[in-house]
């Protein structure tokens, strides 16, 4: 009796030690967020003053200045609508292709799959220069088109395709066969039966695609040059005054504005989001 009690106590102590250790490891994961929020409220000289997480005075004004300094609301909207467009298009295109690869028999299916997978191995820096000229040839420089087309048809779309394919493979075929009996076309089966059953996979593709587009940096850097067409990551990297010197406090306030909403959504839906990524990696 006594022995088992001490063993339970021992286990509790062990657990507390583990938790403490994890807390220490967690510091570099959490601290940047706290520091970012706090410094976004400081004045320019205080950011490098005494290290303190609590500003001496809260400069809420920083948040207003962000919007005065550049068309930040517009840039926010750009990021949002581009990410939504990319997500919708990717869902559409990759679930179609994923369905074909999973369900339809055709000569060359394996070869197509192999080709698509091999594209995932190639960093986009390899093809960025020809793509730059391609976009110029299409007359789409300094528009949002490349930020939509390149991810949808690039590795993001391919990841989506394979995620969908894997999910369709695991679905029972019977319902679809029944649908075909009822006279649905192939497209109808896909739209009416297969898609509604694959909500988890669609959600996973949507989450990953949205975040990827939202955080895209190299493509906007190269293709977008007017301020009002910037996306958020580009806008964040660009807080310099008219003479080129950095405006740290505004940059941090803007970064906070860009990061917090995503973080909030993440905290609310963390389970779903983490699972989406787990799904993508296993299939990758």
């Amino acid at each position: 009796m006594i022995g088992s009690l001490t063993q339970r106590q021992l286990r509790a102590v062990k657990q507390i030690c583990w938790t403490l250790a994890l807390c220490v490891v967690a510091i570099p994961f959490v601290f940047p967020f706290l520091w970012m929020i706090s410094s976004g409220l400081k004045g320019p000289s205080e950011i490098f003053g005494q290290p303190s997480l609590i500003p001496t005075s809260f400069r809420w004004n920083n948040y207003l200045e962000v919007f005065n300094y550049q068309p930040f609301a517009r840039q926010y909207f750009n990021s949002l609508y581009i990410a939504v467009t990319v997500t919708l298009l990717t869902l559409f295109i990759s679930s179609l292709a994923g369905y074909a690869l999973a369900r339809l028999r055709f000569a060359g299916a394996a070869l197509v799959a192999l080709f698509l997978v091999s594209a995932l191995m190639v960093p986009e820096e390899v093809t960025i220069i020809p793509n730059f000229f391609l976009i110029r040839w299409l007359g789409l420089s300094d528009t949002h088109w490349p930020l939509i087309l390149l991810p949808v048809f690039g590795s993001q779309g391919i990841v989506g395709t394979f995620l969908m394919r894997q999910y369709f493979l695991a679905l029972p075929k019977e319902l679809e066969d029944a649908g075909k009996m009822d006279g649905l076309s192939r497209f109808g089966v896909w739209w009416r039966i297969a898609l509604p059953m694959s909500r988890p996979a669609l959600a996973a593709v949507a989450i990953i695609t949205f975040l990827n587009s939202w955080n895209l940096f190299l493509e906007p850097l190269i293709f977008i040059s007017s301020l009002e067409k910037f996306t958020l990551p580009l806008a964040l990297s660009n807080f310099t005054d008219p003479y080129g010197s950095p405006l740290w406090h505004l940059q941090l306030a803007a970064t906070t504005l860009a990061v917090l909403p995503i973080l909030m959504v993440y905290l609310i839906a963390q389970r779903q989001i983490i699972e989406s990524f787990a799904l993508s990696g296993v299939k990758g």
Binding site: P32, A97, M121, G154, R186, I222, L236, L263, G281
Partner: protein, 300 residues
């Protein structure tokens, strides 16, 4: 004649299915050809020219760009070395930390959800934001990291100003950013391992370490391979992180291939040379992937 009539619809059905398949896959395939295959062929051609981005004039120069990179350029080999050091630093650190965290968080205990959420949070955060904040935290004397180190009596280096420390800094901050992804992949794989294996081993008196060594680790093999390939390729793709934290400096200490391509092509207008670099990068990444896959296959 009648037999043929019966067979005909069956044939067309098969053809019909194939046609539908190609139709379904055509948007993806078209995009793939236009935005990937085409450019990949183009980059081979570009790499054989001398092409000024600004004046738009190009001349065929054969293998000059490769010759220049491999034998004459002062920076090229340092850049390759940096990219490899970056990968060698990042991949094992990332995987070891991911596995350790996954082992700690694959059991149920109070707070496990909290910790998973915390370790995964940087993954959903924009790399730009992450780099910006760490750049501030890693400033010299006045940076928060060094202030904290000073608090426990350590005189921290001037992180982003000394080439070796800057490399350490970009690797570690990148690992913190991305380790959550590999962690959850490992957690998923760990949870898929049947409990009975462990229970049986315990009955035979195996220690924790033995269980890990003999059961868990071998069963994680396929996951480890996937993670290793993904992380290695990912380490060559890193651009924004370097661009914003160090700009390739100091003393070119963190100048990696992805950034070097951008610099040569878009800042120095040297499209031909940048394309040759892109080809070299392609070969390196493909080579590494093949080697990793082959090594694994021999292992198992």
């Amino acid at each position: 004649m009648t037999a043929r009539d019966e067979r005909a619809p069956w044939l067309t059905l098969k053809m019909r299915e194939a046609m539908e398949a190609w139709l379904f896959i055509s948007p993806t395939l078209a995009g793939f050809l236009i935005f990937f295959v085409g450019p990949l062929c183009a980059v081979v051609w570009y790499s054989l020219t001398e092409w000024n981005l600004l004046s738009q004039q190009s001349v065929f120069v054969g293998l000059d760009n490769y010759d220049d990179a491999l034998f004459h350029n002062l920076d090229f080999w340092q850049v390759v070395r940096n990219s490899i050091v970056f990968a060698i630093g990042l991949v094992p650190l990332n995987m070891a930390l991911a596995l350790a965290l996954a082992l700690a968080l694959s059991r149920r205990f109070a707070g496990v959800v909290f910790f998973r959420t915390v370790f995964f949070a940087p993954v959903v955060t924009s790399a730009v934001a992450w780099a910006i904040v760490w750049k501030f935290l890693l400033q010299g004397e006045a940076g928060f990291v060094n202030q904290m180190l000073a608090g426990i009596g350590i005189h921290g280096p001037n992180w982003l100003r000394e080439p070796d420390w800057a490399m350490v800094a970009v690797i570690v901050t990148r690992v913190i950013k991305m380790v959550g992804l590999n962690m959850i992949l490992y957690i998923a794989a760990l949870q898929a391992i049947p409990r009975d294996y462990e229970a049986a081993a315990r009955l035979e008196g195996a220690s924790n370490w033995q269980i890990f060594r003999m059961i868990t680790w071998p069963l994680l093999g396929p996951t480890t391979l996937v993670i290793m390939v993904i992380t290695t390729i990912g380490s060559f793709k890193v651009f924004d992180h370097i661009y914003l934290m160090t700009g390739g400096g100091p003393e070119n200490g963190t100048l990696v291939l992805a950034f070097y391509i951008y610099q040569q092509g878009f800042q120095f207008f040297d499209v031909g040379y940048a394309s040759a670099l892109a080809m070299i990068m392609f070969v390196i990444v493909m080579g590494l992937t093949v080697v990793q896959l082959a090594l694994r296959r021999r292992d198992t």
